[in-house]
């Protein structure tokens, strides 16, 4: 019917293509993380071939799942997996709610279609635990062949957006796919292609054009920082102009209008240290904050020929102070997909605790410490850090205070969006990760009190609050952050993705928290009591499908400092909690590539927080194992789209888990007690453990 957008054609026209290509690109993520399900082109005929697919007609390829009996390494073939069928519903722009509903339905459909029988792992790949050398090499290749064919077949309809991306550029040292502006141009071209008199006169929308709009809306709303370049925004404005002439596009326009006329996003280091960012045409360097910053501040009124009506909007933009540089892009003006009452209320509840932003001075932190103390802090409201430290250590000869290291959040900074966020009613605050506050307020209250407080709380309640905290952190992880975590590291100068780092920091914190709480007690009996309590909480976490915190608990309980304490452990021997904990350990065991956990996750219903480590590992493996570029049958280099589809699958799974928050009531006292507890470093924990239960000298 219409012209097929052939990537090969484009590639042939690329002069500078021969350079070696890498895929650090920011842009890659559009197809794989967000757009790749939204096909622009209805009836693409392009046959997609890969290295492995001599025939792409394999539909019912059976994937055998090899699993190995834990005790003896016999290999058994478990069962077959039927092919995933993915119906890709069209997402049309109608209104906010409907769009949202559809998105969710779509997600659910996807999840449902992902439910595959026992024995295969979550992703439709098989679990390869190769304790046995004899079988693996061939099997792996075979299985992967099947897997890749599967994805080819099932994602046939999705190529068109990707095809747009399959144009490559190689620029300087940072070779990768596309700059944002180039992608935008391609999208515009695509839209242009379907312009005809029919459209204009009949007040109809061509489906392809609509999909271009969809992609655009999604892009603009989720990744506004890509549009910091004035030219990009100008293009959008022109596009909006074109659309606004058509009644059929009114919904699109109203959506876009709100999105486009915003303050340009502030580009943090995160954005420019990986991938290929847009840069001002005149500036040759990419890596200076200044250049991007100024570019976002200089609004192109001069460029807006014929768009004078928009000038008024743009001139409102003022220069922003430098300290906003690092603000987390995700919290900037991004409409919140997973908006729920719970989330809002947790935000508000936490706001009430007076957590100041990083930007505030240290004296501000001091002043707010009083309010940050849990209400049970028995009137201990000294602000003087040292004095409160001393006075609170009364009970312990084994002084904790040298070990108080609160490492949380060192590697990321979430804050400094007060000035921007204040404009939005529903902003995401740096709820849990403000290290300054954590440290100072932790220090300013009695060291023993939080743990006493926690000890007296109901296990269910503690588990619920842990879920709320964990989900809130998990929810902030955007597709791009995951990719940045995987790819950004290649460049050693790049900054770790803040949201992923925050989650990992929290994980490590919870582990240390668990350890510290147990070690805080001098008597083995008391330690055993706390240990038992944590084992019970772990069971609750499992019941709530909070695997991330569960994993952190297990890491905390299983650390050397705790495991070596025989006296403590003996007390709990043969207790139910101990037995149940053993089962949890087995569940989260890394053996057979977390096969037990993967199975459990597959059967878990939302709300659920998966253990992030497994996803990161999977992403890394796919990235590492598959080439970004491959040769097609003509010997031309093409993007190995399957790689990105595989990565996209995982990211979509993560997104799905972010959809539903926990419906629990916030108990701010418990959250504070957890969050503001000082923790011991590993070394100090071990020292303390040695003191508590000295090594028996033979």
């Amino acid at each position: 019917m219409h012209q097929i957008y052939n990537p090969l054609e484009i590639l042939k026209n690329e002069n500078n293509y021969n350079a070696k290509l890498q895929f650090d690109s920011d842009v890659v993520m559009y197809p794989i993380a967000n757009f790749y399900r939204l096909s622009i082109d209805d009836d693409s005929e392009i046959e997609y071939t890969t290295n492995n697919s001599s025939s792409s007609s394999v539909v019912n390829s059976n994937i055998t799942s090899s699993s190995i009996n834990q005790d003896d390494d016999t290999v058994e073939i478990v069962d077959d997996v039927q092919i995933r069928s993915r119906e890709i519903p069209d997402i049309t722009v109608e209104n906010e709610e409907q769009d949202e509903i559809k998105k969710k339905t779509f997600m659910n459909m996807k999840m449902r279609s992902l439910k595959i029988p026992k024995g295969s792992n979550f992703h439709g790949f098989d679990i390869l635990d190769l304790g046995n050398d004899e079988m693996h090499e061939d099997d792996i290749t075979e299985n992967y062949k099947n897997t890749s064919l599967q994805s080819i077949k099932t994602t046939e309809n999705d190529y068109s957006v990707n095809k747009l991306i399959e144009r490559m550029t190689s620029e300087g040292t940072q070779e990768s796919f596309l700059r944002p502006s180039e992608l935008l141009d391609l999208l515009m071209d695509r839209f242009e292609q379907y312009e005809n008199s029919d459209n204009k006169n009949n007040n109809t929308i061509n489906i392809v054009q609509l999909r271009v709009c969809n992609v655009l809306i999604h892009w603009v709303s989720e990744y506004w920082s890509d549009f910091h370049n004035p030219k990009m925004r100008f293009t959008l404005q022109v596009f909006l102009d074109v659309c606004s002439c058509r009644p059929a596009f009114s919904i699109v326009c109203s959506k876009l209008e709100n999105l486009i006329y915003r303050q340009p996003a502030i580009i943090g280091e995160n954005d420019i240290t990986w991938g290929i960012p847009d840069i001002d045409d005149d500036s040759a360097t990419v890596d200076t904050n200044k250049s991007t910053n100024t570019s976002s501040n200089t609004i192109t009124s001069a460029n807006l020929n014929g768009n004078s009506s928009f000038n008024s909007v743009n001139t409102n933009v003022t220069a922003k102070p430098n300290n906003l540089n690092q603000s987390n892009r995700n919290s900037l003006n991004v409409p919140d997909n997973s908006n729920t009452n719970e989330v809002i209320s947790i935000t508000e509840a936490l706001r009430m605790t007076n957590i100041p932003n990083n930007g505030t001075s240290s004296s501000g932190n001091q002043a707010s410490n009083i309010n940050n103390n849990p209400p049970n802090s028995k009137g201990n409201t000294q602000n003087n850090e040292t004095s409160s430290l001393n006075s609170s250590n009364k009970s312990n000869n084994l002084s904790l205070n040298e070990g108080i290291i609160r490492k949380r959040g060192n590697s990321h900074s979430h804050s400094a969006h007060s000035s921007i966020d204040s404009k939005k009613g529903n902003s995401s605050l740096p709820l849990f990760n403000n290290e300054q506050v954590s440290v100072s307020s932790a220090v300013s209250m009695s060291l023993t009190q939080p743990s006493e407080f926690i000890l007296n709380q109901d296990n269910t309640m503690i588990a619920q609050q842990l879920c709320l905290i964990e989900f809130e952190i998990f929810r902030r992880i955007k597709p791009r952050d995951l990719l940045q975590h995987i790819w950004g590291k290649r460049d050693k100068n790049s900054v770790a993705s803040s949201s992923v780092a925050a989650s990992i920091e929290h994980f490590n914190f919870i582990s240390s928290w668990v350890t510290t709480q147990i070690l805080e007690h001098k008597k083995a009996k008391h330690r055993a009591k706390v240990l038992g309590k944590f084992m019970k909480i772990a069971q609750h976490l499992r019941n709530y499908n909070n695997y991330n915190t569960l994993m952190a608990f297990i890491a905390g309980i299983n650390c050397a400092s705790i495991q070596r304490m025989r006296q403590t452990k003996q007390i709990l021997e043969n207790r139910t909690c101990s037995r149940q904990y053993k089962e949890l350990e087995t569940l989260m065991n890394s053996e057979r590539s977390f096969s037990a956990y993967r199975l459990a996750l597959k059967q878990s219903e939302l709300p659920c927080v998966p253990y992030l480590g497994v996803f990161l590992r999977d992403l890394l493996y796919i990235d590492e194992a598959n080439k970004g570029v491959k040769k097609d049958e003509n010997g031309n280099d093409v993007i190995n789209i399957n790689k990105y589809l595989l990565m996209g699958d995982i990211i979509m799974m993560i997104k799905n888990f972010q959809l539903r928050p926990y419906p629990f009531q916030i108990n701010i006292n418990i959250i504070n007690a957890i969050n503001y507890t000082p923790i011991l470093s590993d070394e100090d924990a071990y020292k303390r453990s040695l003191k508590l239960e000295p090594k028996i000298q033979k």
Binding site: I127, T141, F507, A555, F594, G613, L616, Y621
Partner: protein, 204 residues
């Protein structure tokens, strides 16, 4: 154990080091003798095992990769806990990854004491023009921490097999010390091996 006919000693090797230093590449290069795209997606590979046929005996190495979970520091000890060998990898073109090796080695020592073979591996020698850590520095650190040392390039396939061969050759020595706590029949070990002396300088 499915191999009663020819019993083999199994050893767990854990791969440690910062993100992106090439841990997974080393493993895959060793397993498949290619650098990439020999396989499609290695999801699900938790540990791979490979049989090494030495002159006088056969052993099996189980390779555990911590890739993707490097920053989950509280979890790392559980990976180290029952390993016979820790392969600590850094990127010769990334000084930071080299500096952090001390921390990884400390972790291993804390968990395993002297009861472990540690190999310091400087990977990515193919990036010679971007080298930030000299071979001498690597050797120096290995000496300081009493570990084995080798430079490799998973990409070019340089020194990968020698790495594993050296590990394999160093292994029996350590196992003889572990006999009492080892669940496998000890008479299977060939304790006549002599070459562990020069390779394995660890503090056992």
């Amino acid at each position: 154990m499915g191999d009663n006919s020819q019993p083999m000693r199994k050893y767990k090797l854990v791969f440690l080091g910062e993100q992106s230093v090439g841990k997974t590449s080393l493993i895959t290069r060793f397993m498949y003798d290619t650098f990439d795209h020999a396989y499609q997606a290695t999801i699900g590979i938790d540990f791979l095992s490979k049989t090494m046929y030495l002159e006088d005996r056969t052993i099996r190495l189980q390779l555990w990769d911590t890739a993707g979970q490097e920053r989950f520091r509280s979890l790392i000890p559980s990976y180290i806990r029952d390993s016979s060998v820790a392969v600590v990898v850094y990127d010769i073109a990334n000084r930071n990854s080299f500096s952090n090796c001390s921390k990884w080695i400390d972790d291993v020592r804390a968990e395993r004491g002297g009861n472990v073979i540690i190999v310091l591996v400087g990977n990515k020698t193919d990036l010679a023009e971007r080298r930030e850590v000299s071979t001498e520095e690597g050797e120096q650190k290995a000496k300081e921490f009493n570990t084995m040392f080798i430079e490799t390039s998973a990409k070019a396939g340089y020194n990968v097999k020698p790495l594993f061969r050296r590990i394999a050759q160093a292994l029996p020595g350590i196992e003889t010390q572990q006999q009492q706590q080892n669940e496998y029949p000890s008479q299977l070990i060939d304790i006549k091996m002599g070459q562990n002396k020069q390779n394995e300088g660890c503090a056992c």
